[in-house]
Symmetry: C2
Subunit: 183 residues, 2 copies
Amino acid sequence: MRSLTVVTGNPGKAREVASYFAGILEVGHVACDLPELRDNDIGTIAREKARCAYEMLNAPLIVDDTGFFVDALAGFPGPYAAYVQDTIGNVGILKLMEGARDRSAHFETAIAYADDAGIRIFRGILPGTIASSPRGVEGFGYDPIFEHDGRTLAEIPLAEKSRISHRGRALAALREWLICQND
Amino acid sequence: MRSLTVVTGNPGKAREVASYFAGILEVGHVACDLPELRDNDIGTIAREKARCAYEMLNAPLIVDDTGFFVDALAGFPGPYAAYVQDTIGNVGILKLMEGARDRSAHFETAIAYADDAGIRIFRGILPGTIASSPRGVEGFGYDPIFEHDGRTLAEIPLAEKSRISHRGRALAALREWLICQND
C-alpha cells in the first residue's frame, strides 16, 4: 500500500485523513505546524523577508513591513493592512468601529537590516485614534481615518508626515544605529 | 562609505531611503518584490507549504489551506479567514454585511499533494450565502453564519458536513486521483 504523511499541528485533521483513506493508503502523521508565513508580528515578517533577500544579494540590505492595529478590533487588520484596505477599505473599518468606545489604534513599521553579522530589527510606532469619518486629501490607505494629535494623516503635509511617521521613526532608529557602527 | 541595498518593488521607497542616508551610506536598489507569503490564492499557499514540508520529509504528503470568500466584501476575508475570525469574528462579518444585497460567499479548501513527481493541487468549493444572524451549534468558526441549501453549517451534523464540505470535496478529488494512480 502506498503511504501518505499528513503534516499538521491538528491531530483531528490527521485522523480524518487516515479514516478517509483507510484501505487505500497507509497514513502517517508528522505533528508540526509549518512556519505560518502569515505571522502576527511584523518584525518576524520583515526578518523572514530579509533572510530570503540576503541569500540572493550577500550584501547589506533592508526590507520593511508595516501593520495597522486597531485596539477595539483585537488588533485587526494588523499585518494584513494592505489586503484589508483593498477589500473592505476605510468604509469597512469605520463600519466595524460603530459604537466602539475605545478608538485607539497604531501603525507599526519594522525595518529588517541584514548583513554578514545577521539580521537586526528597527521598529517605529505611531499611536493615534480612528476618526469618526474620513478627512484630508494627502497620503493614501488608512491616512484619512487615522488621527494623530488632532489631525488625520491625510491632513498632514507629506514632508511633515515622513518625519513623524512610523516609517520615519523606524528609519531614524536604523540611522542612529548605523552612525554608531561607523564611529 | 558603507553600502546598503534596498530590495523593494516600490521605487519611491528606494528613493526615500537613498535621500535619508545621503552622506552616510551608498544606497542601491534591487527592484524586486519578494515573494509575498500572504498570497491571495490558497492553492499557492498550500503549494508553498507542501514544497517546504517535502524538503523535510522526502515522502508523499499532503498539506491544506482553507479560505472564506464573501463576494460583497471583495473576497474578504479570503485566505485570512482564521485571523479575521480571531479578531473581528462573526459579529464583525455581519456588521460589514449590513445593507449588502449580494450575500453570496464560498469556502475553498486547497489540498497540496507532494511526492517525487512534484506537487499537485486538489480544490473543493462550497458555495452559499451569509445568514442574517448566527444559527446552530455544530462546527466552529464561520459555520453559524454560512448558509448552504437553507441551513447554516452549524445546523448540519458533522458527518453530513464532512461529506458535502469544501474540505470533503477536496479530499474526494484527491482520493479519486490516487485511486487512478494505483490502477
